[in-house]
């Protein structure tokens, strides 16, 4: 007789939590026992410095402003791209999603090329050009552009899967703007808030772009404690405000009652709601969307591409980074697959209320935790003679990716699972099917689109990871983003730009392979 559902799902969560939390506990242990004796000095020092309050203010300001800008741009864009008859919506969506494929620092690098003395905008704006980029405003621009795709993905999917009957009924007595405000947008609010919570956590934990743009935030402070002082205790203490802020944000999210409705569900079988006809506004809005893309994404990306428009640089980048590219795809594929398996089972447990709030709060905290802290924790935990098979291999990185990005799998599959009527599984149970049979025969087939979306998103995050990979990648087996980061010091600008473009293209490879397999499976 198989294990019962409740025990199995709790066991799965316990397994994930052990993998994710033990490294964190290892770091907390190090921070509380520096030099072999119990001491709270790292924490008291951290919270009594006036500078820490300034850092907290900077971190919250940057994360909140990024979230706000992402919301202000994301919601209207989602409506435009998902619910109207705008031409080229699909292409525009793909263009706006491009920044998700890159670490935010690369976008910042693209802007710095543009604004440099010999850059396109640098020549126009003169000496004041870089002051905006290297400020909180520049940070918000880069991070909001980088994380805007998350808002689009979540909100657009929600808008496309809305029940068309509500709008059809409303159309009998109301005009489009009122329907949008009264029905369409409120339906998408839970998905929008889910995305914004992720954006907030990502902006809070981001280190690459703020370091590059010289913005002092908590995540950078934690990194500084590592890289300037090699002080593991203070680095861990510097991350505690992130824990508190993340948990507060999560409870706030639950308080407003949006947790359950957060959605990335497939469109209904009968098709989504009717598109809104833009009429004469269509060309204007198309121009607006195109210009917005050019201003946010196109300019820095073209700057990178233009600088790498050198065949020798591309050839050199490919020759030097070919194996890194293969490894990146492999690690990201495996990381995403594990994220999906654990995320699905934990999301399943959460939907059935077998697992509590903590099964979402803890993964969310891990998502916001700077990768360097998780990485040092993983070393402390796994670097033992008996564990060479894991620590000395890419498995250590995969375990880290699973710990950090599991929330993506759990949330997306949870929202897909919510859409399945409970009666389906109950009917299976009545017919005598075990819970594993119900899972494989009923639940998984019905949520396959959600699972696919979860895998793709997890893949992208694993592919572009640098914080964790920098600390734990096995010697001689660096990933492509790591190679880019280490070559940025005194590397030829054209080679660096070529590597940036290669990272961008590398994200397209798995999609091409899947498309090929799809075509084969259809034939």
């Amino acid at each position: 007789m198989g294990m019962d559902r409740r025990t199995a799902l709790r066991l799965v969560f316990a397994l994930w939590a052990l993998n994710a939390l033990l490294p964190v506990f290892a770091m907390i242990h190090r921070s509380l026992i520096p030099g072999g004796h119990f001491s709270l000095s790292a924490y008291t020092r951290m919270f009594t410095w006036a500078r820490e309050w300034v850092l907290l203010e900077n971190s919250l300001g940057l994360a909140l402003a990024t979230t706000l800008v992402a919301a202000l741009l994301g919601l209207p864009l989602s409506l435009l791209l998902a619910r109207t008859d705008l031409s080229g919506r699909g292409a525009l969506f793909l263009l706006f999603v491009l920044p998700l494929l890159l670490p935010p620092m690369i976008l910042a690098y693209g802007w710095s090329i543009l604004l440099a003395g010999d850059g396109l905008l640098g020549k126009i704006w003169g000496h004041a050009r870089t002051s905006f980029l290297f400020s909180s405003g520049g940070g918000v621009l880069v991070l909001a552009t980088s994380f805007l795709p998350l808002v689009l993905l979540f909100t657009m999917t929600s808008l496309l899967s809305a029940n068309p009957r509500l709008e059809e009924a409303a159309r009998l007595s109301a005009r489009t703007p009122r329907i949008l405000l009264g029905i369409t947008i409120p339906q998408a609010i839970p998905a929008l808030l889910t995305a914004l919570l992720l954006v907030f956590c990502l902006a809070l934990g981001e280190t690459g772009a703020p370091t590059f743009l010289r913005i002092n935030v908590f995540a950078v402070e934690s990194l500084t404690q590592f890289s300037a002082f090699y002080d593991f205790a203070s680095a861990t203490a510097a991350a505690t405000p992130l824990l508190l802020v993340t948990l507060l944000a999560f409870w706030g999210f639950q308080f407003f009652g949006t947790g359950r409705g957060a959605v990335l569900q497939p469109p209904p079988a009968g098709g989504g709601p009717e598109p809104i006809r833009l009429g004469r506004l269509r060309p204007c809005l198309l121009c607006f969307a195109g210009l917005l893309w050019m201003a946010l994404v196109g300019l820095p990306l073209f700057a990178l591409i233009f600088r790498s428009a050198d065949l020798t640089a591309f050839a050199e980048a490919l020759m030097g980074a070919g194996s890194s590219l293969g490894r990146s795809l492999l690690y990201a594929g495996l990381g995403a697959s594990l994220v999906l398996v654990f995320g699905f089972l934990i999301g399943y447990g959460r939907t059935g209320e077998i697992l509590g709030y903590w099964s979402e709060a803890i993964p969310l905290f891990l998502f916001a935790l700077p990768g360097s802290i998780l990485g040092i924790g993983l070393i402390s935990l796994w670097n033992r003679p008996a564990m060479g098979g894991i620590y000395g291999s890419p498995a250590i990185l995969i375990l880290g990716l699973l710990a950090q990005y599991m929330i993506l799998g759990a949330w997306i599959t949870k929202s897909a699972l919510i859409q399945i009527p409970r009666s389906m599984e109950e009917a299976g149970a009545m017919a005598g099917a075990s819970w594993t049979t119900r899972l494989t025969r009923i639940t998984i087939p019905l949520t396959r689109k959600g699972l696919f979306a979860a895998w793709l998103l997890a893949f992208l995050f694993c592919l572009r990871d640098t914080g964790l990979a920098m600390v734990v990648y096995p010697p001689g087996r660096e990933t492509l983003p790591i190679r880019l980061f280490t070559l940025m010091a005194n590397g030829r600008p054209s080679l660096i730009s070529a590597l940036c473009v290669l990272i961008l293209l590398s994200a397209a490879v798995p999609f091409t392979v899947l498309g090929f397999l799809y075509a084969r499976s259809r034939s």
């Binding site: 500078r51 440099a116 003395g117 640098g122 000496h127 870089t130 370091t211 590059f212 010289r214 500084t224 890289s227 300037a228 090699y230 593991f232 492999l330 594929g333 495996l334 697959s337 360097s372 990485g375 040092i376 070393i379 670097n383 033992r384 003679p385 098979g389 894991i390 620590y391 000395g392 291999s393 890419p394 498995a395 998984i444 087939p445 396959r448 689109k449 699972l451 696919f452 920098m470 600390v471 096995p474 010697p475 001689g476 660096e478 790591i482 190679r483 980061f485 280490t486 070559l487 940025m488 010091a489 005194n490 590397g491 030829r492 899947l514 498309g515 397999l517 799809y518 499976s521 259809r522």
Partner: protein, 347 residues
Amino acid sequence: MKTSLPHFFCSWRCWTLLVVPISVFLLFWGCSSGRKPEVVVYVSEDQVFSEPILRDFERETGIKVRAVFDTEEAKSTGAMNRLLAEKENPQADVYWANEPIRAEFLKQRGVTTPFASPQAGGIPSVYKDPEGHWTGFSARARVLIVNDQAARKPTSIQGYLDPAFQGKTAIANPLFGTTTANAAALFSLWGEEKTKAFFDGMKKNRVKITPSNGESADLVAAGECDFALVDSDDAFSRKKQGKPVSMVVPDQGEDQVGVLLLPNAALLIKGAPHLENGKKLIDYLLSKETERKLAFADCAQIPLHAGVDTPAHVPRIEDLRLMAANLAEVARKMEAIQPFLKSWAGY
């Protein structure tokens, strides 16, 4: 039956054809390492300069090099933190530090073991640890990168205090990398009072504090600053990129403090898993041939051995007035000055 992409993705076929075989391959790959002769090296020297040397070693000896690269430019937490975190169960055999201060720090933390390489014979003793924990090779100089459009050209680091350069100078955050070493060297030579006055004077003259030497060099190259104190490789690389900059070796007058040379350092890790291969790599790094290659590379580093060929633009050690700093003492000083540097940099 129509098959959608998500349907295929959720099928057992996809997982048995793709995910499981790849996982098995990865596990096999992870466990198979260690059968061939290999050496694991953690590197803080810029990858663009160090990787070709390591590839040459691999080709010449047949020993596979597995490297972890790190850069202070990216403020990464890689090599040094790994070495400290892995102290109880070392994974690395060799650490190639880009300056000796980190090397001394690791020695003090008990991460390294002494090794007297036969190749170290010709290297001046001031660039070697007396106990053999680290040995210097191929040095960078701390130089001034000066924009060609600047109205005046400074010849000394005292230019930072000159009102003519107010708001037009840059320096990398002294909490990081070679600027820390430079600050510590000044503290050891000038004493606390004079050095603190110098740093406070820089601040009063509105020096721009940047995250790295590379960014200081970029500010000068872009014309936003007249000059900055950087590593010689930062200055050479900007010049090679065609930027309108010159390199000035500072303080070469009779009564001046001289230029600080910061060599790379090779260290053998205590408990190294491939000890003999690690020693071979250190021998290779300390050789005249490696110094020659690093002199002719874009980093244009200054050989510490006498009689090594160098290109015309690389200054010879015998032609320079050197800062008379004891590097081991500088490393010890570095910890003592951290509180001052922290408050100076606004931490």
